[in-house]
Symmetry: C2
Subunit: 250 residues, 2 copies
DNA sequence: CTTACGCATCTTGTATGCAAGATTTGTCGC
DNA sequence: GCGACAAATCTTGCATACAAGATGCGTAAG
């Protein structure tokens, strides 16, 4: 799909490598990104790594803990809610602003849905994570608006990090069907319905989160030792109903 | 309103100073921001200035021309169209997602409208520019969603830069009335109507742009010499009808 | 065995130095 | 006077050096 080779010689190769690693779920939330290590991996000095980190921090993808290190963000429950709310606002707004689906656009969406299907059949979870996020970027691309694509790309990255923290299992087929319904509505030219379906779809996913779960600081070690994830901390209230009515006064 | 003093001792004081300067129209599009000059203004080394520039570049507020310097962006016509389209999508989506207006929220909006009114009476154009942009940030703040506020804040900054390039005169009263209508609809609890009004309002402003106009490289010098702005380059097709139907297939 | 302290190590924060390229300016030739 | 060339100047790009703080480990005291 994309090329993921680190030694690409552009100005933003570091940024892209990190984002691409997150979008494909190869990098977990909370991962430390040492300036020195990244610098040697890319054969550059810390200067350029820091500049990349500054950009990534601005995008809400990494955070610095002073004199401790850079870490891939672990969105809090509140941030997770905000990310989903923002996505509902933007994606629904986007669909309502559309007036028709071109043939080229339809073909791209169909191609994407086909990829999702084969990945589900293959059961490749990493690839699925990547594709499930990409779908929403594909939608944004239909608008031809680079600004919206960028915004949704970064929100998608954060969404993936959120799901890695708060989502116990992912219902790939459910999401896939949601995507299919959205595309179908768009093909009918019913973009209001598509918008509603998009909101429902995001609700479904958000409902599947367990936001009472705390980010697990041992996740990477746990994974390295092939231990089952997070079984020691069961939480009541495992799935909530998202309440996305925005009415706060301040 | 905000404090605009440069020597504020936080980590992002440079970023804030630049953005605040743009939001209040004190910094024109195309302004060069020399690393050395900014560094001495803030009594820091170029390192921190560069880091700030990296963040601002990521936000679409400055651009670097290799080995020539950093410049406040001058959005192209296409970018201008995209900015307005993105704002329509997000602001309309935001309003449609709201279910009610709290008293505190209503009070803040009314306070803001009152400020607009007094600024119009005073005829303070810089302050007006600032307020007209702030209104949309106030709306985003109602949602309590920090992510959306950030996104709209940066889009507003770009909008101001766009208007400084492409807008010959600004119809402050027209904008103010648009804002009043939006607030009225929200007070009625009719957020669908508010969304439609927001789209109309943005359309109005976009229609008032003359996107055939090229950014004037001599603008600051011209201004310093108190010459009349841009009279030498008249352009036909002075105001267009915005076409914001998004239907591109790729 | 447990706890507290201190040093060694590793991290980022910041400044600075140098190189490469772009621009400008001054000068020379016509 | 006018245009072309060249040096001087200014810009960012990038690496490196050093300082300040956080962490962890070993050791010693209780």
């Amino acid at each position: 799909m994309q090329d993921l080779s680190p030694p690409k010689n552009v100005q933003t190769s570091i940024d892209e490598a990190v984002v691409s690693g997150i979008l494909s779920a190869r990098i977990r939330p909370g991962t430390r990104l040492s300036e020195n290590e990244v610098a040697s991996l890319f054969n550059v000095s810390r200067t350029r790594v820091r500049e990349a980190m500054m950009r990534l921090e601005q995008r809400g993808i990494v955070k610095v803990s002073p004199r401790r290190g850079w870490f891939v963000v672990e969105p809090s429950a509140e941030e997770a809610i905000n990310v989903y709310a923002a996505r509902r606002v933007i994606e629904a707004g986007l669909m309502r602003s559309m007036s028709r689906l071109t043939e080229a656009g339809r073909d791209k969406l169909h191609a994407h849905l086909a990829e999702e299907k084969t990945a589900i059949a293959a059961g490749d979870r990493q690839r699925l994570t990547c594709l499930m996020g990409d779908f929403h970027i594909r939608i944004a691309e239909l608008s031809g608006n680079a600004i919206l694509v960028e915004i949704l790309r970064d929100l998608t990255a954060r969404t993936i990090l959120i799901s890695l923290i708060y989502q116990s299992e992912f219902h790939a087929m459910q999401s896939h069907l949601g995507h299919c319904r959205i595309v179908a509505a768009m093909e009918e030219g019913d973009f209001l319905k598509a918008a509603e379906l998009a909101i429902e779809h995001l609700d479904e996913v958000e409902t599947g989160l367990d936001l009472t779960r705390r980010p697990d600081p041992l996740a990477d070690l746990r994974h390295s030792l092939s231990l089952p994830p997070q079984t020691a901390v069961p939480s009541s209230n495992a799935s909530r109903k998202p309440n996305h009515e925005t009415n706060r006064g301040e």
